[in-house]
Amino acid sequence: MQDRVLQLAGHQVVRFVDYMGQLTLFFVAAFTALFRPPWFFREVIAQMFHLGVKSLPLVAVAAFSVGLVLAMQTVGVLSWFGAANYIATIVGMSMVRELGPVLTALMVVGRAGSGMSAELGSMRVTRQIDAMRVSAVNPMKYLVGTRLLACMLVLPLLTGVADILGILGGWVIGVTQVGLTSKYYYQLTLKYISLNDVVPGVLKTVVFGAIIGTVGCFHGYHTTHGTFGVGQSTKAAVVSGSLLVLISDVFLTRISLLIWP
């Protein structure tokens, strides 16, 4: 019995490592292809726009709600200690360092990661990807590379929006429940937040962008079994994209705390 459990666990570990290896190779292949001519600037810009527009409303609503709720939950505890003013710092710090990046990444996985997977999946099963190869256009570059780069460039921008909206959520509570003026709230927010809090958060999102793009494209690109397979790939992309974002966040946070204590 024990043997079997161990064996099973070992098997899963091997599969996970294998999967990570495949993702890495896929990323490297697509990303390096981008740095050889012909250039696909236009396509990257188009994908950025596409991604940004699709995800922005979602990210905005999610970040604002989380900022609001975070403030509601903490304001009570803070007032026990007579420190309700710190609400601005707590909300600002949490959003910028952690919640902004992760929340944005999770929203983008759900919206755009799944979208990329479904799009490439249906292109695969209807042989559009093959048609592109036969037209002597490298789909790993034109379809995958451009999406990857777009993800990596758009996530920091979306995260910026999320940070601001989360802080706005906190401000609503600060002004209505704590009775701070808007100006004072603003000053309190900026007082303790430095570049050391913002930079690691933003850098993290570039990695999240790479993960989302890679996972979304990987599952779409390798879709088999027709339209049924497209659904499977999309599901796999969302599940593994969210998990990998959260797992990598642990490591990235650890590393960033070492560099920017």
Binding site: T126, A131, V134, A136, V137
Partner: protein, 267 residues
């Protein structure tokens, strides 16, 4: 007529000489053999039809010509270039620019308009202005008997029109060799005949070498100079229309007979 600067051309043999040569092609998937020693020669300028029931391996065989599949064993040469020796996608791409491949289900890019679909190869491989591209798109559409559909989404077209658009895209770079994979499959008989006529007219006007894959005898007889039958992983017959008719090869007979295997097995 817009003059298109041409990619480095293949050195084609004279008309009637062998252009494409399959020798001893083997291919299996999951230990299930699909091709078991295919030998076949395609002559320059001819239209060769490959017949065979569904699942015989026709698509597998023809996709080897554009590098979408690779044989497990055997060699393919095209105008003296050994395809099995091509290693990188870049090497393949040089060759692919000379070839057109019409996919079984049209494979139009559904995120692009009809015009953008046809312009796609031009945008990537020709230095043309937007105006020139639009003009070539119009020309190619006219060639397949369509007009004023550039702005439509492919999904807004009927199956027959989609096939025509796909053909226009295949013709965009003026290929020397065109491969049609089941160009009439899934179309009603009248639309199918329209496509068959179109293909034959194009052969006459463009002077290209064509390989046409089908399980539809009517189309095959109508467009083919020579016909080949792929059966059980090998080419069991190769000859003219008349020779096909007169053949006493049992596989040919069973393929030709009205209640053929294709229909009775329902695949």
């Amino acid at each position: 007529m817009v003059t298109i600067q041409s990619a480095p051309t293949l050195i084609l043999p004279p008309k009637g000489e062998p252009l494409i040569c399959f020798q001893g092609i083997y291919k299996s998937y999951n230990h299930k053999p699909v091709l078991r020693g295919v030998n076949l020669e395609v002559r320059c300028g001819e239209t060769l039809v490959i017949l065979g029931r569904s699942g015989a391996g026709k698509s597998v065989l023809t996709s080897m010509l554009v590098g979408l599949e690779t044989p497990d064993a055997g060699t393919i040469t095209l105008a003296g270039v050994e395809l099995t020796g091509l290693r990188t996608e870049t090497e393949w791409d040089r060759l692919r620019l000379q070839m057109g491949y019409l996919f079984q289900g049209s494979a139009l890019y559904d995120s692009m308009t009809v015009g953008e679909n046809i312009a796609f190869p031009l945008v990537h491989h020709r230095r043309l202005t937007l105006n020139q591209i639009n003009q070539v798109v119009k020309e190619k559409l006219a060639l397949v008997g369509l007009k004023e559909v550039e702005g439509l989404e492919p999904s807004a077209l009927s199956g027959g029109m989609q096939r025509r658009v796909a053909l226009a895209r295949t013709l965009a770079l003026n290929p020397h060799i065109i491969i049609y994979d089941e160009p009439t499959a899934g179309l009603d008989p009248i639309t199918s005949d329209g496509i068959a006529h179109l293909i034959r007219d194009l052969q006459k006007s463009l002077e290209v070498t064509s390989i046409l894959v089908t399980h539809d005898l009517r189309t095959a007889r109508f467009v083919g100079d020579r016909l080949a039958l792929l059966y059980d992983g090998r080419i069991v017959f190769l000859g003219s229309n008349q020779e096909l008719e007169d053949s006493d090869n049992p596989e040919v007979k069973s393929f030709l007979s009205p209640i053929s295997l294709t229909e009775s097995e329902g695949i």
